[in-house]
Symmetry: C2
Subunit: 414 residues, 2 copies
């Protein structure tokens, strides 16, 4: 069935490119994009049309790194050093997800907030709890979020949140059996090298190969962590090699942060097709540093953005995009490399993420992920604005109250 | 008349100090704070009480640097270099305020947005237009905002926004005659040294002395500007001396930015009682740098925060406080000096600004400036939180929808 969305269509078909179609038509067949047209082709005349009039139709956001069980601690403990923050907040908060009623309430609210803020694709860490993880997946599915969720594996150095190796593997299998969702799929999630024994890493690598499962973890977030990994794996030169050693470094592996990944580590990412997930707010909040995003892109590393809740304090990816621009300006002042422009950062927060899952923004042949932005609450401008200017203003000023509608995987979900 | 506010009172009586009074009482006499009490003293029993129950009662924000006529361009042109941004957006947008109907609409909406976001005190730049400036003051007064507004003086290097020297002086006098507002007072506002002739600066200095008027301007925002000032005033060693030369460098003078003020310039500020207004978002957006806030404070310079709309993109001072924390963390990573904690940054965004106008947050003897924060839309926490934790979370997560009430100069205005 063919349907049509009409409105001011703005999108970033590739990194750095902005396309604006004033009063344009987005034609869908069973929710899959057929094309964008300045005038409606005659063959589609009479098809059911949602007319958004003067509003903006933009690709929706993809958040490729966030910790669902840290949502309850959003905006807290940000004055603490990393290890105190982990012990005082993170591990204790995650441990609460033993309680499935609590998990149901928190995850329902998280899933609804994601959609309300225009995030329709995620790659998400759960806690170690199988039941809570399945509840999380169910709630995301119900709200209309798509993507990957991982039960976290952590059998050492993890305080109250820790599991045994045997338990970790057994529960991973039980979790995988329970994963029967249409839009939310499993991703293997060793928390990071220091919290997984070699035995656990090896078993997860075997499972990833056997069942062709994707992998997500953390990489080179701060100097202390990198030194710790080196101590734990003296036989490997660099952090990334501890993942490679166990078959976890493969095309589509998501690595959060990569703040301190040097040229050699970045080359290994580009070569293997491993993605860097840039988490600007978190990296500044926890004083990890500012990642060399433009260099990564120039060197052929695929980069997407993550909110990194709750090291990051911003669930709204529009804010994460703006914070990524600001972080890139800090980097620009430091190194002289050009900062991320608004279309570039928006691409990383939307189309780059959708490319991870197949497709690229509004590319034909892929289900629609979009949001409609209402600008009536924005200040009255001094003159008529171009669509490019309205787009830029929307990125800076939008919040959930200015998002009129959200489409995920071809369906309207807000 | 004595009235009482009841609720969870959290405030920062001095820089770095956080005071929490769970279920406390804020006692007011004709809107002036008499004291904060954990239990209601018997003498006030029976006085009219607003019971905010479990909500937070916090000091409201002070925004000591923003450009009202740049509100229409909020979030636009942020990819442009400073000079292109000024010419393509700023000067043209400001020129629109020749139109008093337009000014009325924009300024009414700005004043309402300020109150909605908990900003009750301002030091604000208007444009060069006398009539629009009086309209701005009237709309702020009507909405319940208090503080200073300045008609901008700019008789050179200011594109379409420029006025002649004669006109600038004549209109300043006409504007001062029109300033008959209870809560909004005039402040002399030479835009910055490069946009004011020596003759204009001298006349403004004379006026400041004669009528005992405060002064606001810009100082040492970026390297190009500093070099330009040096060219224009080869007889003065540093930027600040071009203000001093004309009697504009005096106790209570507000200087926005001070990103590149060195030790000597900072010492001159501390000695004269000139305030630095730190505008973190703007300084990063325009790639000016990150100001040495902690060093300034240690050296005895008074510092408050500014949104610097529209070099800054955040009108909500809660966001400006968070961005100031992030900027200080960038500075901390660069220099090793400690970052601003949440209570420290909140102090700078609230009590520091109120100290500028007299009083200091909830200090007894001064009219109440406060806001009530409703946390029901925040994520459900994993355990019972301390008031300090709830305060910190509110700073990170609040927006205008979570502000239930605002008090300005002792009156409820939201």
């Amino acid at each position: 069935m063919v349907t049509v969305l009409r409105g001011n269509i703005v999108h970033t078909p590739s990194f750095g490119k902005l396309e604006t179609v004033p009063g344009g038509y987005l034609v869908l067949e069973d929710g899959v994009v057929k094309g964008i047209f300045p005038q409606l082709p005659e063959e589609y005349a009479g098809c059911p049309t949602e007319d958004w009039r003067d509003r903006l139709i933009l690709p929706s956001f993809a958040d490729l790194h966030l910790h669902a069980p840290q949502y309850p601690m959003l905006g807290m403990g940000m004055d603490l050093p990393l290890l105190d923050w982990l012990n005082a907040y993170t591990f204790k908060t995650e441990a609460r997800f033993e309680d499935t009623d609590y998990a149901r309430r928190v995850y329902r609210s998280l899933a609804e907030e994601l959609i309300a803020n225009g995030t329709t694709r995620v790659a998400m860490f759960s806690s170690r709890h199988t039941d809570a993880t399945l509840i999380l997946m169910e709630e995301l599915e119900r709200a209309g979020v798509t993507g990957y969720v991982g039960k976290v594996n952590m059998d050492r150095n993890s305080g109250v949140a820790q599991e045994t190796t045997e338990e970790s593997l057994r529960e991973t299998l039980r979790w995988l059996e329970g994963c029967r969702f249409q839009h939310i799929k499993p991703i293997l999630t060793p928390r990071f090298t220091p919290s997984c024994t070699n035995e656990l890493m090896a078993e997860l690598g075997r499972l990833a190969a056997e069942r062709n499962l994707p992998v997500q973890s953390h990489l080179s977030e701060n100097a202390g962590e990198i030194a710790w990994v080196k101590e734990l794996h003296p036989d490997r030169e660099q952090y990334w090699e501890t993942y490679e050693k166990y078959g976890l470094w493969k095309p589509g592996t998501l690595m959060a942060h990569c703040v301190h990944s040097d040229e050699r580590e970045r080359a290994a990412m580009a070569k293997a097709g491993v993605w860097a997930v840039h988490c600007a707010a978190s990296n500044v909040n926890i004083c990890s540093g500012t990642a060399p995003v433009r260099r990564m892109l120039e060197e052929g590393v695929s980069v997407a953005l993550g909110s990194d809740i709750a090291g990051g304090d911003q669930l709204a990816m529009s804010q994460v995009v703006v914070t990524s621009i600001r972080a890139s300006k800090v980097k620009a002042m430091e190194t002289g490399e050009p900062f991320l422009t608004v279309p570039e950062a928006f691409y990383l927060g939307t189309a780059a993420g959708s490319r991870y899952f197949g497709g690229e923004g509004f590319a034909p042949g892929y289900p629609l992920h979009a949001m409609v932005v209402d600008e009536t609450a924005f200040p009255e401008s001094a003159r008529e604005l171009t669509l490019a200017e309205r787009f830029e203003r929307a990125v800076y000023l939008m919040d959930k109250s200015s998002i009129s509608a959200v489409y995920s995987e071809g369906r309207r979900v807000k």
